[in-house]
Symmetry: D3
Subunit: 233 residues, 6 copies
């Protein structure tokens, strides 16, 4: 059976910037690795001088390594596009970068940032990710999801931007602590409550998404495409 949750056996989470993948899917990643699945992360951008302080860039990369270790990530792939300037990268180049990583990993499940996030890097990553996942050829990912990101998804324009209305929930009751722990590893990125990018906010979000489907903590996603074949079990 393909296109089922077996699709998760090889999962690729795409992060526009380091920490987005933890904010959106950290608990799911931990649950998957605990269940024996392989989780890959592709980080699309890197901060470049002079926009970014290189020491800070190094710090974030170290934080990211620690976070991914906690979550059991098998491999982190750095696409090295310019942070905050994805709109200056030719669309075909970004498509090629994303297609390259999809071809290299051949995931069953592809997990993207959300097209309605206020950050244009997120929007463009989504669009090129969807191009990379086009359902033709022998090996497209049968499951494509989009995650939400605190301080991005809620700050776009109500009723005018594409809206995040989750239809896919993963119970992370047993991995929420790992998720918060991984996020705490990004100490340079975490903000103090009541900022949206605080540990308290992340916990409240997990509770809210959880109670919506009757569990103590969950991560919520929008399904883009799921292709099922009951014969390929």
């Amino acid at each position: 059976m393909i296109g089922s949750t077996q699709a998760f056996e090889r999962t690729l989470v795409v992060a526009p910037h380091p920490d987005d993948e933890v904010l959106g899917a950290g608990g799911t990643m931990a649950a998957l690795t605990q269940a024996g699945c392989s989780v890959f992360v592709a980080v699309v951008t890197t901060g470049k001088a002079p926009d970014f302080d290189m020491r800070q860039v190094t710090t974030v990369r170290e934080e990211c390594a620690r976070a991914h270790e906690k979550l059991g990530v098998r491999e982190t792939l750095w696409l090295d596009q310019p942070a905050a300037r994805l709109s200056e990268v030719a669309h075909v180049e970004l498509n090629a970068a994303l297609s390259g990583v999809v071809d290299a990993v051949r995931p069953g499940a592809l997990v993207l940032p959300f097209v309605g996030d206020i950050h244009m890097d997120h929007q463009l990553t989504f669009l090129s990710g969807l191009v990379a996942a086009r359902p033709h050829g022998p090996k497209f990912p049968p499951l494509v999801l989009a995650y939400e990101t605190l301080s991005e998804t809620n700050w776009n324009a109500p009723y005018l931007s594409p809206s995040f209305q989750p239809n896919y929930f993963v119970d992370i009751s047993s991995t929420i602590d790992l998720k918060l722990d991984a996020m705490a590893a990004f100490s340079s990125q975490v903000r103090s409550f009541p900022h949206e990018r605080s540990i308290e906010a992340l916990e409240a979000l997990a509770v809210m998404r959880g109670v919506t489907v009757g569990c103590a903590a969950a991560e919520a996603f929008v399904l883009l495409r799921n292709v099922i074949n009951f014969e390929l079990a």
Copy 2:
């Protein structure tokens, strides 16, 4: 100035069933009464035999009285329509009931349940509330908002039902405790975590809505209509 937050000086919150008004706007109601505004609540339905146990109906009404006292509600109006059976009431009759209470209270701010809630009583209350607020004649409410209700708003169909995308936030950092206290007064209605209708869920929702706009707790609304006249100050 009309149509401003001065509109809140006389606020009418409409609840399809007792406790909806607390779930959706309890913190705002407390903040308003503390600021000297008059808050009215119209409860649209009452449980009727044999659908409902009359002792339970009496219990809920007593719980409601205690909750409203905590929040400083000036007056609670009971429209006495049949609970869970609003769709069996003639549409003109429900319109008349809502118009009657709007005419009696003459609110500056009218606060309705959300049309996208899964419970049809909520949908029909919204529709008739909007009819009652039509912007003609000398005294229509210049501000109309819709609130969200745990275990109703999140359980409807993503991308198919009208979606709650909040654009109006009230900081309830200093009244969140009163709100939770008022909800706790509905002890027959509160469920244990991780049910959506638990105190913990209500608190997580307040945090989530708060951090979205940089405060520790908030209630979120969708604006239906706001009419401003800068001369009528």
Copy 3:
């Protein structure tokens, strides 16, 4: 693991009228029964005199039995509501009927008609089906899908009715013949090409849905809710 395709092990397909379930999900049903899953069908309405000719009602029921036998349906449940008059049934009663069958079958996957279909019986069946599937309590279905129905889904109002934008596809390459065969069993319901309710139309739809995801025939669905727990494997 729950909420996965294992959810399909016990599948309940809800049909407003006999044949809707075949039009929308016949190939999936056949694939499921071939894979050893249990498929139940709930038929919501029955034609009643004088609206319907009783001989015709009997005929359809016999056709339905033959169709379900071809597809391997384990059990067909008749809810016996009045056909074409669901809007005259009290909403709570229809909710109760749907909740009753969900409680009796306890499906992992619940498959509903689409809320945007032009036939009000379809819309109301969807709404009550979603109420019956509310995600609380110990045993709600972790997977809820909506199917499309020829001569209903395409005939509603573009951009005004809820739109069917499929995100969930089941490969029915190996069961499309069974599906067409089952539909042909409804000889009183099938129309001649180029009517939408013709065998040729059903085949073209299967091809169109298939090629969209790279297979020769598919059925397409809109996902309403999927809840996954990787621990419950």
Copy 4:
């Protein structure tokens, strides 16, 4: 050629209440009759005692006759359903009433009120009108449009009700005076400016819709369905 503007040669405008057809399509009706086309109006409801004063009902019917005479309406058909209480009429009965008039007139163009209007009579008339126009059988109308109604279309819920986003415009520069004249004939229904149902409002709307497409006055519609066959010229 069918499905073209030749479809207008036999046009049926459906009005939930007398005067809706003039507000929404009066200028188009006048332009059509001047061009030699046949325009029929179906008025769905009639005010009934005790909801309505029978003298007022008679007055409106007389006003309607005068207005239709000015516009050159060929025939006015009264469906005699209860005004403001269409939601109490069985859905199949309203379908039958609309299908009856469509079958009797066999229009090429069917012009309906808008599903997003705040008045439920408008919504239900639209829904049953669309059922009556289902594109099967030998004689369905190849062109279906929806018009806007002052004091109905603008008063529904922004971003939550179906929205009127016009894509079809008829230049009424040479018939706007006739339209305003016909509306003035409904002296019992016209309100004083600045009410939405005033002559001044109707004129401003015509100007707004006109300038959007470069003419001095227009009526705007939403296209529901247009079927073209270039061979049937």
Copy 5:
């Protein structure tokens, strides 16, 4: 009468890449030329080295010439923008290119690719095409339509990208063979079934769009704007 199907007498179909116009509107083009109308095609992009193999570019252009000959296209205009890199062309330049061709052809009907297609070249062509068709000045096209493209329109994000919900259908029962023949002329572009860009898929789509409106084959469009003046007959 302008703005009617007479608008089709001079029709301009815009193709981001050669073959899009055939996939989306080939049957309509053939029907129009058979009815004596003039059909122009503007091909927006050309493959450029090193992105594209120049022999392949030459091949496609020859295939295009053969296809257009089959369909009776009066003139093919090549705008020669860089294929797959329209997002690197300044927006004003693309606007100018589209406005130039609209000014040169002065079409009554302008037929564009769809803004919700997954290929950014399609989206940008649509946007600049709509700018070129702005309804002011003496000679804007009174009819603007958007067509669907296999392997583009169905592969974008459900509920997040603009959705193709057709409201305008052209019966191509008598020209479907010509359409398939024209598409077959693009032998370098056609893929084997079950790829979306196969002849079988194109035929199934024509059947599906046809049966929706009761004919054996149709092409479906979304109406952007239609301006009618009954006096200009």
Copy 6:
């Protein structure tokens, strides 16, 4: 109290090009300055050679000065980005330009052009304006609105572009004359009726928006975000 109409005490209106601010919010600006509030205007772009004639650019700037004087604008800030070529400016640079002016003015109310306008300069100004208004840090604007612009908002794609469905209205009955006067000051920009950018069109729009909420003239807005704190009175 913050986030109330007190937010208007310091209002920043953002215009992609000079005159957009008058078309969309001129009457509100006049009403605010008459009420003693401070109104700032940021003009994002300037025409540059060779796209624009420098004498015309100088003329428009003088017209703008006269218009702003009529309306009582306290200060006009020129961001000097290239007109009609905002899409060629790096997104981070436009963000920085908008954030700079928001930081400098620290408005309570931020009034932006609409994201669904057909002109890409409008869309990009909206997006960067929303980034500049992100609700974190000590001083974000508690009220963010979007205005409509004749010849931009109505010319985008119905049901495909973000739609302007106003929920926020300002009564400009007493300042409509000032608004029309200010627009007339842009004599190089005003077009003759029936162009959308004519004085007559602007007046008709004010009447239409007014009657929708029962006053003689109004400006309509879409609310993006309003944050209220009843304690900060």
